[in-house]
Symmetry: C2
Subunit: 434 residues, 2 copies
């Protein structure tokens, strides 16, 4: 398609949603992508840009002049505009902003650039509909028509006083049903949820999801209304957060996708594998130190993978439950109760598994009763210890203010491997006396 | 608090958001909770009920009469009402519905009960604002005032023809800015995203997130507008889905929370642990079959945990990337390219790890060169095989129409444990010739 026929291409693209165009561009090479972005009108491409993969967008932006970027930016809401500009190198940033002829828009974008990406300030947009408490409903409808021009979607109408302080909100429904002569003061709802500009993105997501909000106003330190966050941005925050936790549990750090380069993937994956490598080496040290006096009990070595797999699986399960519970606030971080419950659970699970292992090892492998019993006792102990470590570490990290998700995956499995093997051989030595 | 003073309690609860009341009730015992629900007026408690933990809600509902439940239900949107009624036993269901005096509302709820929970039909609400294409803007505003009474939040106004077929939508903005005399026919937007009642919840979530929609209309087989889904319900779908995938990766099946009973937790966790148990027993079989002829090379057994940990970690990483990629459609399921990339990545990661292991085993454990080399070569092979298995299985399951998330966690680790150990000893036997 991408050779020459401009008109056919324009026709083709006209009816496609910008999110789909972005998907197509993600698949093209850089020259084709830049060509397409330049060809389409900026009303469409600006939205396409917000949907593109960050890496690809950066490279396309490098191929555009500051003026061309400013043209795209002009079409965007302030929050999306600020996101794109924040990725540019410093000098280009200023150049692009100087090309935006709507000074109000430029000022808003510059203001948003001040905030950290992961805070309410970084998520919010300046576009919102606000009315003064002293207006009448009729005033308000007129003013809203004017303001609504700049706002893609009207969510709530916020009511402010003369100092721009947030007082409450007005529902569209009330506005439609109220008499046109009533004063806003008399019809607005004085209760409104809001967040501070410095609130973290995760906390904003939690609040909006909990109270089923579609938009939330953002206020500054003096309670002045400075922006609003809509639920579609929060959907992205929730997805990113879930993806990050999932990756962390699998031993992949950072924002990684299947199509990233091998170098980037290695950087995200190798460090976690190395934790496993060092753990494995420590386990080797433990085993070889026990091995020498082991003599006839060498069969015990065959069950090392069993011990290790069980310890790892139990640890991951326990930590996953705690990490999720902490994330959605359903555990209050009460350590002792949680540990006791995991202990009971480990007893139940461990008992069943130990019984099974006892049967298989005795009848399948023909090990002596004493050895089978040793393995069974060891496996219950290992499961209990693994469950306790898996529960304790995330809660501990959370109390220290560290994201408990780092404690999942290879970190938990590796520490449980080492403890598990140590416990296994110590118990064996105690019982069998080698 | 919960002893006697009704008025103090009512005063206290008056200003608390229903989501917070739900959180308080989750912590109370059953009698206290029922008492509180009966005490508060149903306008508030109905919303509280939707936010409660399912298990707790079921038990509270058992303590209420059908009439009391109907009073709560009356205050709810049809989708939330249907969710609650669907949890009741069959006879009570009909009894409760017979007590709902608004027949329109009751009919809508019964209609929603027909749909599967995990489809668009199960998510949608009947409350929406629709206008006929033949009306004028003035008509439309009047009609909307009437309809809006029943709709908590107005998202979009949908335009239908005389047969209720969905034609397009009208933005509130356009309605506010259009002349009151224009016909709807001339101002509405003919393009509107919609889903069929039978679409899966996950697909609806994908579409709404991709196109940044806040509400989407739902149509039946004949294209008639039957409901709409709002983004707040989708936020729950996205969270549940992420939680389910996360749990699956950790070897926990079903909808499990930290505060569930030990029996429920065991049911969710033990089956996955048993996979590991059987895998461990198979590994024991493999090791003991090689052990006999091993003689001087018994030191090789010490490195089993290393091999196993590495194989497990690599497998989980590879499968996590594929599972996420498939979930958000960023991989197209093209097997060969993906496998080749994982192969290259495994070479890079495997090479670095093997080199490190070589150094540590030689200098730390004083193993002979040949043995160290054996371990090094084995570890590269194991990493490559683990990466390929971890990539292949989820893609394969996805092609077969099975949720690839089942292939993460204990399933991948266990199969990689077994293959890893088999490869390790086979290579060792080949090189060292025992």
């Amino acid at each position: 398609i991408d050779n020459n026929d401009k008109h056919a291409l324009l026709d083709l693209m006209k009816d496609i949603h910008y999110a789909d165009v972005a998907e197509i561009i993600d698949e093209l090479n850089l020259d084709e992508a830049t060509y397409l972005i330049k060809l389409l009108e900026s009303k469409k491409t600006s939205d396409v840009l917000t949907e593109l993969d960050e890496g690809i967008r950066d490279r396309i932006l490098e191929n555009l002049t500051a003026k061309e970027i400013a043209d795209e930016i002009r079409e965007l809401d302030t929050d999306d505009a600020a996101d794109i500009i924040s990725e540019l190198p410093d000098e280009r940033r200023e150049e692009v902003i100087s090309y935006i002829d709507d000074h109000e828009h430029a000022k808003d974008i510059v203001e948003l650039l001040r905030y950290d990406e992961d805070t309410a300030g970084g998520l919010m947009a300046k576009e919102l509909v606000k009315v003064n408490e002293n207006w009448t409903v009729l005033n308000c409808i007129g003013e809203m028509r004017a303001q609504a021009e700049n706002v893609t979607r009207v969510h709530s109408i916020y009511v402010v006083d003369d100092n721009e302080k947030l007082l409450g909100r007005l529902s569209l429904k009330d506005l439609l049903t109220a008499s046109t002569k009533s004063a806003i003061k008399d019809v607005y709802i004085r209760k409104v949820d809001y967040v501070s500009v410095h609130e973290t993105a995760e906390e904003v997501a939690r609040i909006m999801a909990k109270y089923d909000l579609e938009a939330i106003p953002v206020v500054d330190e003096t309670n002045r209304l400075v922006g609003r966050i809509t639920i579609d941005d929060i959907v992205d925050v929730i997805r990113d957060e879930a993806e990050r936790d999932y990756n962390m549990a699998a031993g992949i750090s950072g924002d990684i996708e299947a199509k990233d380069s091998i170098l980037k993937l290695t950087k995200a994956r190798l460090p976690w594998l190395l934790i496993g490598t060092f753990g494995g080496m420590m386990a080797a040290g433990i085993i070889s130190s026990f091995q020498e006096g082991m003599g006839d009990y060498i069969i015990l070595l065959s069950f090392v993978p069993l011990i290790q797999a069980t310890a790892g699986n139990v640890g991951v399960q326990s930590s996953a439950i705690v990490v999720q519970g902490l994330a959605n606030d359903s555990i209050d971080g009460e350590i002792m109760g949680r540990l006791f419950k995991e202990f009971l659970l480990a007893l139940v699970n461990g008992g069943s598994i130990a019984f099974l292992v006892l049967l298989i090892s005795h009848f399948g492998f023909g090990t002596e009763y004493l050895i089978s019993a040793t393995i069974g006792i060891a496996i219950i102990s290992v499961i209990i210890i693994a469950a306790i470590i898996g529960t304790f570490i995330p809660i501990f990290l959370d109390k220290k203010g560290i994201d408990p998700a780092v404690a999942t995956g290879p970190f938990i499995t590796t520490s449980n491997d080492i403890f598990g093997i140590l416990v296994y051989f110590s118990i064996a030595k105690l019982i069998l006396g080698f």
